[in-house]
Amino acid sequence: MGKRVGMEVAIAAVEAVALCNIDVAAVYPITPQSHIAEHMADVIHDGRIDSEFITVESEHSAISACAGASAAGARAYTATSSQGLMLMHEILPIVSAMRLPICMANANRAVSGPLNIWNDHTDIMPQRDSGWISLFTENGQEVIDLSIMSFKIAEDPEVMLPCVVNIDGFQLTHMIEPLELPSKAEVAKFLPPRKPFASLHPDDPISMGCFAMPDTYTETVMAKEAALRNSKKVITRVFGDWAKRFGRKYSVVETYKAKDADTLMLTMGSMGETAATAVDEMRKAGQKVGLVKLRLWRPFPVEELKAAIQGCKTLIVMDRALSTGGAGGPVATDVKSILYGDKKKPRVLNVIAGLGGRDLTVNDFVAMFDMAKKKKDETFEIYGVRE
């Protein structure tokens, strides 16, 4: 076990990536910003790691530069947030179709308008279908561990897909937590330098990013789909490898006091810890409640989620985003659709909360559990809207 030190989570994300022998980092300080870009600059300018650092002129160019770098065989990293991620949007599905294993941190922040720099998940949800592996973190230690693992997962020859590690803006990025960083030697053993399947070099000229006519486009979509679905197996394997080497266990769906629970709450990201405290309090009061936490958002862990919620009567799905004019939050609509064909399924309620940095306290989660008890229909609720 290494020594635990107090560190801001955004800084820790960079310190973790600095252990990963990256070759190129491209970053842009779009508002809102975390300390990731500037600390990455410190690490590289101080010569602590040997990496090229491209201070691009936009987030669109940040992901584009990473695409070029990754296509040329480099381990490429970028970090973004909110509007920056929205600006990258066009390039995200291209990167996954080109099977470029770029890794990215996203400090989850609300999307304008109105301009709001605080936490929610409205930035990552429009990227849901872009073909990226999307992982969520609950605390700083998970940010460190998953940031390192993301390279291993993305670059696996069976996967070769980009990966985004979601870190709740402010709630996580700006927190100072006691954290443990693995040693460089340990990480080097776990994650050797990238060995690309193919790369841009005159020694072996190839064409990348060719266009597809109607007779091949569907097949490329299918290939990406198969790779993304298949990545779950690799993700689980990498989690297992990590647990053996570093002692911290991860799974694609995590549970807390869920086994005998009548009512379960499903969360993603940092709200899991607060919700767990609410579960503790309600358990003390004799209520059979529990928690399910989605670590892997894409590919969606259908079987693992079904196993985790087996036997519960009510499932409250928390969403930190709303599909405006749609059926509710994006997590809930996915959960409902995977359960649709099942004979035995819980009542699924959807609560949208914590938008644009609105705080969610332990009392709020208790109130949401209570609200679920009284609710007659299954329409979604936006929690805490002021009249």
């Binding site: 695409a67 770098a69 005159p202 064409s207 006519m213």
Partner: protein, 315 residues
């Protein structure tokens, strides 16, 4: 097989015989742009990586599962050739330093059309040039969005008719003058900026070689005749390029560290622009007074260029 007869005799040392863009691509008949690209690649040789923007040259050359490219080639999107190139250049630098690729110079090349350079790609281009990547950016300028159906760009010349600047009764074609991107590149203090045209292949090749020799950013703006979009006969492509230069509509020059130099013969009097405008359907709506307006503008721009050649000092 090389299609040029007696090639072995008259130009063995001037032009690389090897083809880097295979025959069989899907360019239109008489395409000046693909000819420019062919010469550019011959001048660059093997040790390059090309980042190409979406556009004519991309779609004619890279339809899966075929590719005309004999050199490493990547296409990502429309506006980001310079950004993708930045990443390629950074990666080649890092991987070479770390001993993961061969220890020799490989030049990064970005290629885009006038849309991908002067309009949607201008931000990425400005960023890449400002950061000083070791990269040559080629703008293959056919003066409109030809790939998508001849829509106007900021590189479309004054009064030219396109599908989004049609020759209407109220508004006769393009309302604005062509954006001067080479000058914008000079303002970035790019060490080598040049204009070129495939009607002058040796001049083009020399400029490409000069650009390649620069350690850092270089920009070459290549006039790329487009019979399809300009509504002219496909067999007069080369002539159209020469007319553009001889009339002063597209002068050939280079700017080394801020010092301008004409690379064309300076005529006592430029040819009248009507010689260049007349064969093109995109100018068929022009009356004598319109042609006069264009003529005046070309002469004014020519004077400005001559002044730059005379007055601008190297940095």
């Amino acid at each position: 097989m090389n299609p040029v007869q007696n090639f072995e005799i008259f130009a063995p040392k001037l032009v690389d015989k090897k083809e880097y863009l295979s025959a069989g691509h899907r360019a239109c008949q008489g395409c000046g742009e693909v000819l420019a690209l062919r010469h550019i690649l011959k001048a660059l040789g093997d040790d390059i990586v090309v980042a190409n923007a979406t556009g004519c040259m991309e779609i004619i050359s890279s339809g899966y599962p075929q590719s005309a490219w004999e050199v490493p080639y990547v296409h990502v999107a429309f506006e980001n050739a310079a950004a993708v190139g930045s990443g390629v250049e950074a990666a080649l630098k890092a991987l070479r330093r770390k001993g993961r690729i061969a220890d020799r110079d490989v030049k990064t090349i970005a290629v885009a059309g006038d849309g991908g350079t002067c309009d949607i790609g201008l931000q990425a281009l400005s960023g890449a040039m400002e950061r000083g990547h070791d990269m040559i950016f080629f703008c293959l300028d056919n003066e409109a969005y030809m790939n998508t159906g001849i829509q106007r760009s900021s590189a479309t010349p004054f009064m030219a008719a396109t599908t989004t600047s049609p020759a209407g009764h109220a508004i006769p074609g393009q309302r604005t003058q062509k954006k001067n991107v080479p000058e914008i590149m000079v303002a970035h203090k790019v060490p080598y900026v040049a204009t070129a045209c495939p009607s002058y292949p040796l001049d083009l090749i020399n400029k490409v070689k000069k650009a390649k020799a620069v350690k850092g950013p270089a920009y070459v703006h290549v006039f790329s005749m487009c019979p399809t979009g300009w509504r002219c006969a496909s067999e007069i492509t080369i002539k159209m390029g020469r007319l553009a230069v001889e009339t002063g509509i597209f002068p050939l020059y280079e700017v080394e560290n801020g010092k301008y130099r004409l690379t064309m013969e300076v005529p006592e009097k430029l040819r009248p622009v009507k010689d260049y405008l007349a064969p093109q359907g995109r100018y068929r709506h022009l009356g004598p007074s319109d042609i006069e307006k264009i003529q005046e503008h070309v002469l004014r721009e020519w004077e400005i260029l001559l002044n730059k050649v005379e007055c601008m000092q190297p940095w």
